[in-house]
Amino acid sequence: MKLRVNGLEFSYENKKILDQMDFFVKEGEFVSLLGPSGSGKSTILKILTGVLMPQQGQIMADDRQIYGVTELFAYMPQNDLLFPWKTILENVCLYGYVHGSLEEVRREAKENFSLFGLAGYEDRYPSELSGGMRQRAAFLRTALCRADILLLDEPFGALDVITRGEMQDWLIHMRKRLNKTVILVTHDMDEAIYLSDRILILNESPARITGEIVIEEKQRDRQWLYGQGELRKEIHRRIMGES
């Protein structure tokens, strides 16, 4: 499913957060929205999920305009937001609880526990898991939604550097398996370079897309990432508004 956002504007308490936001995402593409903290990146995802309503602009999915909450998007928030009172299995089946398809989702969840490195933790509570495992559980909850587009809001922002690196490697591996369109919000330049097909660069609030970087490399590893000094400089220049 391809997505197009036209002229999106959003203000909160008389403060403009998004200003004339235009972008598109092709089917199966991994796009990162990269910008400084507080620039309104998360607001874009909240509008796409339907939690916030824009004052202006259109969201088109396959040339069809969409409004409010739809089943097109699965949202993974910044914090894992696992319910402390539910076990990991119950947590990842949230979609089933909401849509009355619990048995089906539960079956699918159980099949995927090993793939997500969570085998044996089905009946544990979130407080018993490490930060990385909690994020993987949150990602499994997102992946189990019947959605075409995954919206990841700084999913590894709360993790330590080592775990974050491991999770990024894991996400590259998972992306091939899941074969879904992904929009990632991040302020981590290396994360955006490592994971994305295309990076959309946002300036400070009110957020506006000021540039785009396409990353052609298909075979990525850490060694490749360390050699991307020029790309980093280029992104930095664009964030700072230099042409």
Binding site: T49, P77, W85
Partner: protein, 253 residues
């Protein structure tokens, strides 16, 4: 071993010391029983009156449990209504606080005038004492739920009521149980106050009868039963929390 149980042994040791001093004072100063019975006399009365206390205690416990059940239902309904409609919260919350400033010993006779000498006014006394802590804890619990959880389930397609069912109410259960623990402790006292004003059964009625007969050993025995039952009610809620909410076990310790 000493470290593990020391925390619980310390108050027991102090209590034992107080009882020994109390016994020694009554015996040493020859204090008559109608002024202050000794712990041994109280224990003797407790054993002799065990059957009568059990009969009256059962009535009081039934009133307390019914009252606390009604309080719980009303508090959950009112809590959700106040959370759903902020104007209701602004209007009702201050009134709830004001109701707690009216002494129950004044309210209980008024309830008897309106409702007679049956079980009704006793249950209502319990409700008036227990409703406030449960309603306030639950309402505050609902207000403090992280909005991000609600946004998450809404993004999954959940409506307002489903968000309550999946997120807001379960997230507020620990707060609800905190209020319920306080209310459970009050519930026996609430029933006793209601019975004290006018009843034919219950620990409050028994207490009044033995007090009027200057049988202070039985008065103290009855007070010991009231304390025991109040602690049992509190313990019941703690047991429920331990069994039903395993994710809170670490926090409980």
């Amino acid at each position: 071993m000493v470290k593990k149980y020391g925390k619980n042994l310390m108050p027991a040791a102090f209590m034992g010391m107080i009882l020994v001093l109390w016994e020694a004072a009554v015996l040493g100063f020859h204090i008559p029983m109608y002024v202050l019975p000794s712990p041994v006399q109280v224990l003797r009365a407790l054993i002799e009156e065990a059957g009568t206390l059990a009969v009256h205690g059962a009535v009081t416990v039934a009133e307390a449990l019914t009252g606390i059940g009604i309080s719980l239902c009303l508090a959950v309904i009112l809590g959700v209504v106040m959370d759903c409609f902020p104007f209701m919260r602004r209007g009702i919350y201050p009134i709830l606080v004001v109701t707690q400033t009216v002494p129950m010993i004044v309210m209980a006779p008024i309830l008897i005038i309106y409702m007679g000498f049956g079980i009704g006014p006793k249950i209502l006394t319990v409700v008036l004492m227990c409703f406030f802590p449960v309603a306030v804890s639950f309402s505050d619990g609902l207000a403090q739920v992280d909005e991000e959880y609600v946004n998450l389930v809404r993004s999954y397609g959940a409506g307002k009521w489903m968000a309550y069912r999946l997120v807001k109410i379960p997230a507020s259960v620990p707060a609800l149980l905190s209020g319920l623990k306080v209310a459970a402790t009050y519930s026996i006292s609430g029933a006793v106050v209601g019975e004290w004003i006018g009843a034919q059964k219950g620990l409050g009625y028994y207490l009044l009868r033995v007090k009027n007969g200057y049988m202070l050993d039985k008065v103290f025995a009855c007070v010991a039963v009231i304390i025991f039952l109040s602690l049992c009610m509190n313990g019941l809620i703690r047991l429920y929390q331990y069994k039903a909410l395993p994710y809170l076990r670490g926090k409980l310790q």
